[in-house]
Symmetry: C2
Subunit: 502 residues, 2 copies
Amino acid sequence: MDREAFRQAGYRAVDEVCEYFATLESLPVAAQVEQGYLAKQIPAQAPEHGEAWDTIQRDFHTQIMPGMTHWQHPMFYGFFPSNVTYEGILADIYTAATNNPGFNWTASPAVTELEFIVLDWLAGMVGLGAAFHSNDMSHEGGGVMLGGASEATFTMAIAARERALDRLAHTAPALRASLLPTMVMYGTSQTHTVGAKAAKMLGLQFRALDVCRADDYALRGATLQAALDEDRAKGLHPFILIATYGTTNSCAIDRLDEIARVAASDPTLWLHVDAAYGGVTLALEEERMPAHLDAIRTHFDSFSLNLHKWGLVHMECAPTFLRNRRYLANALSLTPEYLKSRGTDAAALNDLRNLQIVLGRRFRALKVWFVLRSFGQAGFRTHLRNAIAQAAHFAHALQRMPAFEIVHPPRWGLVMFRLLAAGTGTDVDALNRRFNDVLLTRQDAMFLTPTVLPEVGFCLRIVFGAPATEMRHVDKALDLLAQCAAQTLHHADEPHGAAPAS
Amino acid sequence: MDREAFRQAGYRAVDEVCEYFATLESLPVAAQVEQGYLAKQIPAQAPEHGEAWDTIQRDFHTQIMPGMTHWQHPMFYGFFPSNVTYEGILADIYTAATNNPGFNWTASPAVTELEFIVLDWLAGMVGLGAAFHSNDMSHEGGGVMLGGASEATFTMAIAARERALDRLAHTAPALRASLLPTMVMYGTSQTHTVGAKAAKMLGLQFRALDVCRADDYALRGATLQAALDEDRAKGLHPFILIATYGTTNSCAIDRLDEIARVAASDPTLWLHVDAAYGGVTLALEEERMPAHLDAIRTHFDSFSLNLHKWGLVHMECAPTFLRNRRYLANALSLTPEYLKSRGTDAAALNDLRNLQIVLGRRFRALKVWFVLRSFGQAGFRTHLRNAIAQAAHFAHALQRMPAFEIVHPPRWGLVMFRLLAAGTGTDVDALNRRFNDVLLTRQDAMFLTPTVLPEVGFCLRIVFGAPATEMRHVDKALDLLAQCAAQTLHHADEPHGAAPAS
């Protein structure tokens, strides 16, 4: 493809993106295809000779798009949202064209420097305080733009292990390896799988601490204290706690204030906050008190959020902040001759590669810069408050529908609910699994994901937060739920598995 | 930004990309800015209110672009290339707009299915054989599109550790943790830092096996055998060898044939090929014999290459192939209720999240599909052969310039050379460090990276492979090197560090 062909194809792609967002609502939310649909349409080998762009572009629309589940759809309420904005798409055009791996300052000064600047913007927006600012040279705190919560959790676990081993084996470095079998990561039963997965990747133990419904599934200080006492008595070394600000199940907020008090006396426990979905809400003044922001500011070692969930910036974008980046740099840095950076030999903290598990990667800061400048902090807050208002409206309306109950206090964009079993002669879990089966048949119109909440059972999650969702879509969701509920209850006496017609 | 504003901004961005590639040659290759240049121009906080797109777009050009080192510049010859093509940029527009995390089949059938299809295309192109095809259900081999060589190496190390621990502790799973201090990763002194970094991340030992100039820096079977014997006698468990097909320093190719023979009798050693830069050359029939492709096809456990280096597809794009994905899936999979995928509960290998350390990430296969279809395999080969011809032309011309010597046989796009010290009264290393200082002053015109090659010393690497580079740029590079050499030799009697004027 030559330059003029690209110009025409580029204009067309831009028009198609406009068309996509203009007509998104008319598309089925979830792909209506069977597994293996695509291999039937695409040759098993790459073509020997180049094909015309018109053909490729046509096939994108006829072969790929029908198999796409539309996370940007105004009726997509599953998992957590996956925001993208026009500003971010524009950034991607420039980012792709310059394709700069940015692993050190020399590789591209702009890539490195803009990242630290926007990280400071974000640290300011969510109120983390100066200790976490990268461009404050009075300390070694600061951030890095990781790919997602999995990578962030895993990367913080590496930094935490480094610090713990330094402290435990500082007089005898040879002991470090022998300590590995005693190292334990902590999370709760509600921690996202990123916690247990990080432990699996590191080959270390993971302990899921108990939380309960009476505490809104928040980890309490006393539970942490008991676990620390028990594990220390066994000769184990708990070296990181993955605390959560907004769990995937119920948006639980661990009691970060109590955790900070308990951990203050522990020499090796690194305190991390996984705020993948919830972190953006700290841009809202009214959310900072329940978030225990003061505890984070003064006692936590690291904090990570995803902008690519509810934060208007698309994947991958997980700003991650550390009180002291030195442990991470010590754990990750290796500098052969060909990677030495002009002007940064003495400052490992200025080369992104020392703060991430990968060497090079895309220029992530540009899209954040574009989005934050175009929306402003005020626009960012409005976006969040829209979704919170939608969830409140939804919860209020659902409460007035006698077939339903809200099983947990709504938080932010999330509402958890289920059908009431009273009078159906059916077990509530079985009824709701059947309800979910009905909902699955309507994934063309609305996409929800179920979960199992401890002490509650099987229930549904609905999460607002897509920029395309308006209040009328919330009402549409309520109507659809009422229809699916009626259909479920009508068939409530049939055995589970007899799939109702859609 | 509303839809019509995006349409106009998008057209403009497309025009700017055209302008960028049309005028790239006139830009300085390396950014001509001082460290900290950007923070002086950008406020310390995000703006409270949204700004006009015209302002943001203007600032991109006046603030960001001057700090960008242009990896796409026809005179960028540093590190390894970082290709991008128009087709890839178009893919990014669609990928960003649909922003789909694709962690399981339900999250988007097209994202999952296209990835396995293009992985099979690539496995076919580089001749890996059916054992590594994802859509061949007769075995559990196949691939995944990881982010880069660091992530690929690290991910394969996790799979290898899983297999080794399974075999070593299959009768007593409780032993697994206690075996960790005995686990050793192997590479060579020429293995990229991805090897040692992966070991650091896992908290395990890394042993760099010796290679020598007489062997062209290739790892030999006898060296591996001796190391295995020595380490086993110490009770250690070497569990993965990171062999390289094209080292960063000199494009060395480890003796994969000898390695395969030695490892055949080892119960736990996983054989991985890091072919980050070189892997694409297996698309060329004439490269397959020296690559020991037969050994890879029959004995190696995994193979990874980067398309985002010399393979026409921009970051991040590291297709990685495994003979058996099951070990990886066992090491990484955890499935809570909210991640269960419709139609794939029984088939962990069909969900991308089980084959990668992250949960969700961008749709990477689309850009590969666009590029391979638009170029065809023939166009892909032409791109590679252009760079190989440029390197050959460069080496041939340099050999006829009396001031220079080629220190190592050129391979693919890479030539390693240095100034000859004869008659200068200076140590050859010192002379070439000074030569590099002179080259640093001309990074506006040409970007090279130096290295230290064992048994040779300090020398320069020049790597061809950017799509923008034409034969006339190779001649320009030769002219510039001649000028910089003359300048260096003119000052050869001055003490090192007296920076010559540019």
